[in-house]
Amino acid sequence: MELENVNPNVYNKVNERLITAEEQDDNVVDEIDTREVFDLIRGINDPEHPLSLEELHVLEESLIEVDNDRNLVRVLYTPTIPHCSMATLIGLSIHVKLLRCLPGRFKVTVEINPGTHASEHSVNKQLADKERVAAALENRHLIKVINQCIVSN
């Protein structure tokens, strides 16, 4: 069967991050910044193509918001095509990666970049429902697929 999006656009990866002196200083409380969040998720694979979400431009650093004071992290992602049926799975993978890697104090919101998907509202609602997400993660078939996307290279 043909892939849903057979000819996705592929983008270059961004340059490596410059490490500043402050970041190396252990006395400074570790705040999270958007670059750090991006680094956590940029390498997640698309379930259909052997390409990362960064290369497919599904994720961009500019669409990530971090508020350290209120402990909020918000990631907007852009599905490759407006009817992408993998949208929920991709969103779930991003969400899971962040749940596993960010400190527990953060409230994580993963949403579709407004205007880029036909079922934006219902996908966002499903991703925001932590009970649905929790139950989904107890489904070993689903977790296998998600882990394949998340644990890469």
């Binding site: 069967m1 043909e2 057979v6 000819n7 379930p47 259909e48 052997p50 649905r132 489904n139 078939h141």
Partner: protein, 466 residues
């Protein structure tokens, strides 16, 4: 609004057709290492061709999930599917009629319509007609559309009852562990059982086909020589949509004629829609007659509807009980009275023999909640009945999911009562005569029997619903 029974509705009523976790036709995703150089183009014939880097074309496989696959699966019932099914039946039927009229005489099919009693009564109340007149005008309507022959399903209903009696006696005497025997004529129950409880419950279900399918086999196989080489297109008129699923089961595909035993199922509510679309009512149709192609000479007869003793779903419990009482404990059962248990849709009768001991325990369980209770009791080993007439619709087939709704705001419960009264007034079919006839016409017992398969859930991970 789905016209499927509650048993089937419970499984994933959803508004888009994507292969769900339960879809037994999973879409294969070939994970090929495509480089970004691959280009896909659509050929003139609508096929997809991939041109790889070297410039050569490769036709890509299209995966098709046909509606027949979808219908046969019953893994998920989507409301979109419900709409498709409606369109398929009415439009399909009208198209078949049209084409048959226009084509060459030797290409034409023989269109046979077999009508069950429940839709007749439903339409009789709807159009305010006496049952026999309603059937006569319905036959007239079908002939007006282009049907060649219209027959009464009651013969097949009689065969079904007789075969069920036979099977029950055999199980009781020789295989008591396969009791309680469960009725097999309700596809809502059968599909639910195959999908949800699989191999645990299937051995209990009677292997006798439903009347619809018996009629299909009768017309297409047993009487095949009668049609002079013409292809038979068999339409049945039924009180629910679940019968459409039944008709498309792979077990009911006739290898000889390469067609299904039942080609199209049309329901009460759809007939009502068809009449309304044409701007007519049944009263506008001329009265016609039923045929009896199983008799030599193929006489047309004036319609005299009959019923089976017992419930409006076919009277399986009553008739089997009567026969079992006579043969096993020498009792003539003239009056069979059930006692309501938790609710009026679950009733039982405990028949005592001449020594006052309970010898036969039969029950009628209608509606999904009661199906649940039967299944759970069976699983816990606490089901002490010998036979249970299980139907997916509360109040049984007279209240089927696609029976006509009341027009004047009559409460649906009053409508059911009216249908039941109408049913009870009909004369009872003479099973003795039917039995004698069966001996003559039924050559192979297999023609009356079928089998069941547990439907496995396949986990197509990329499409798991959560």
């Amino acid at each position: 609004m789905s016209h499927f029974s509650g048993a089937l509705q419970l499984t994933d009523l959803d508004d888009f057709i994507t292969p769900s976790q339960e879809c037994i036709k999973p879409v294969q995703i070939e994970k090929t290492q495509t480089t970004t150089g691959a280009k896909i183009s659509i050929g003139e014939d609508g096929s997809y061709n991939q041109m790889d880097v070297s410039g050569s074309f490769q036709k890509l496989e299209k995966v098709e999930i046909t509606l027949a696959d979808c219908l046969a699966c019953s893994g998920c019932i989507t409301s979109a599917e419900g709409v498709l099914i409606t369109q398929q039946s009415q439009d399909e039927l009208l198209r078949v009629f049209q084409e048959n009229k226009k084509c060459d005489k030797n290409e034409a099919k023989l269109i046979i319509v077999s009508i069950s009693i429940q839709p007749i009564l439903s339409l009789a109340v709807r159009y305010n007609l006496a049952p026999n007149e309603c059937a006569a005008r319905l036959a007239g309507y079908f002939k007006h559309l282009g049907a060649d022959i219209v027959v009464d399903m009651s013969l097949a209903e009689g065969f079904a009852v007789l075969e069920n009696q036979k099977e029950f006696l055999n199980r009781f005497k020789n295989a008591p562990k396969t009791l309680p025997m469960l009725a097999s004529s309700c596809p809502g129950f059968v599909c639910y059982a195959e999908k949800t409880h699989g191999n645990f419950i299937l051995p209990y279900i009677s292997t006798v086909k439903s009347p619809q399918q018996i009629m299909g086999s009768l017309l297409k196989s047993t009487l095949s020589k009668k049609w002079d080489g013409k292809l038979v297109y068999h339409v049945t008129v039924m009180p629910c949509y679940d019968k459409k699923l039944e008709a498309s089961r792979s077990e009911f595909f006739d290898a000889d004629s390469q067609t299904r035993d039942v080609d199209c199922v049309i329901t009460s509510i759809e007939l009502e829609q068809m009449l309304t679309r044409e701007g007519i009512t049944l009263l506008d149709m001329p009265k016609s007659t039923y045929s009896q192609p199983w008799l030599d000479g193929n006489e047309e007869i004036e319609i005299q509807l009959t019923r089976n003793l017992g419930s409006g779903s076919g009277g399986y419990s009553d008739n089997i009980l009567k026969r079992a009482a006579k043969e096993l404990i020498g009792l003539e059962c003239d009056e069979i009275v059930y006692k309501n248990l938790r609710n009026p849709d679950f009733k039982e009768i405990l028949l005592q023999n001449n020594q006052g001991e309970v010898a036969l325990r039969f029950a009628i369980a209608n509606g999904f909640r009661n199906i649940q209770n039967v299944v759970q009791k069976l699983k816990r080993g606490k089901c002490h009945y010998h036979y249970i007439e299980v139907m997916a619709c509360p109040s049984g087939c007279l209240n089927g999911g696609a029976q006509a709704r009341s027009q004047d705001g009559t409460h649906s419960k009053d409508l059911i009562v009216a249908l039941e009264l109408m049913y009870e007034k009909l004369p009872v079919l003479n099973l003795y005569e039917i039995n004698e006839f069966a001996k003559v016409i039924i050559s192979k017992e297999e023609m009356m029997r079928t089998e069941y398969k547990a439907v496995e859930k396949i986990n197509t991970a990329l499409n798991i619903k959560w």
